[in-house]
Point group: C2
Chain length 166, copies 2
């Protein structure tokens, strides 16, 4: 397995959106993904950038029988990503907010999520963010156990998420 | 009471930071506010803007015995604000994330929070955000009841907040 963790570029977007849809299907909510490729690209690489990401790129995808849609024109493939934006805490200043950490089903359990997560910690330190934040579903034990290995983790169940869709 | 709800400008920052500190003292965590005025201004009005806000400005602050620190050079005063950033949902696209909705203690209970909150809904529609999201502490009944008046509200206790400070 030849894995390269690197910053996402615009040509990664179609494969990334495939991974997003794969997860939504797995979670039985395929119709919940309403974002379009155009809007996804514009938000990540347009004039006002609102998301950033690292991707996990594999150079020998044929050996793993991966979906065609994950292939790049180079013959390599995107098998996962960590997508984040910058949140602003009025107490702590700029923080990295990890929105999605995602590995394609066939490639799970190989430590790739950890490679991406560790890269985000490096990013935080380089950019001098005051911290890193994310959310996890309270029933998602494997994910909770994964995060618990990190020193300094603070996990809170005190907050309710509120949302209005337009 | 002469209230004007308008977009925050850089010269509002000292008063806004005062309001942030006032709330932290009220919550018995004054030392938790580590953000500096410089960093706060840079994040809101620098080259890479990461927060936006609306302020509630009062033109007759003398009548309410408000702290000096909330006054602007114009003689008006900032008595509250709603600060937000843009979050990116990989399912729904760009959304407004309300980080802080805050009214100085003496001016609460007068409907000013609602003025700010309603302005954010207008902002979402103008900017074509797919929704608006925020969090509320699960024991904060007055706030929860306030939000419940809004049509289409979705409130979820399924998520844990995770954080690592650097």
């Amino acid at each position: 397995m030849n894995i390269n963790i690197r910053k996402a570029v615009q040509s990664d977007c179609p494969a990334m959106l495939e991974l997003i849809k794969e997860l939504a299907i797995y979670e039985k909510e395929p119709e919940a993904v309403t974002v379009t490729l155009d809007h996804f690209e514009e938000s990540g690489f347009g004039e006002q950038q609102v998301w950033w990401a690292y991707v996990a790129e594999i150079s020998n995808p044929n050996e793993f029988d991966l979906p065609e849609a994950l292939y790049l024109p180079t013959g390599k493939a995107i098998i996962g990503f960590a997508l984040y934006y910058i949140r602003y805490s009025t107490w702590k200043g700029q923080r990295l907010y990890l929105e999605d950490l995602l590995i394609t089903e066939k490639m799970r359990g190989k430590g790739l999520g950890k490679l991406l997560f560790d890269q985000l910690i490096v990013e935080c330190k380089e950019k001098k963010y005051s911290g890193m934040a994310w959310q996890v579903l309270d029933w998602n034990e494997p994910a909770i156990n994964f995060y618990k290995k990190y020193e300094g983790l603070n996990m809170s169940d005190e907050w309710l998420n509120c949302m209005i869709n337009f």
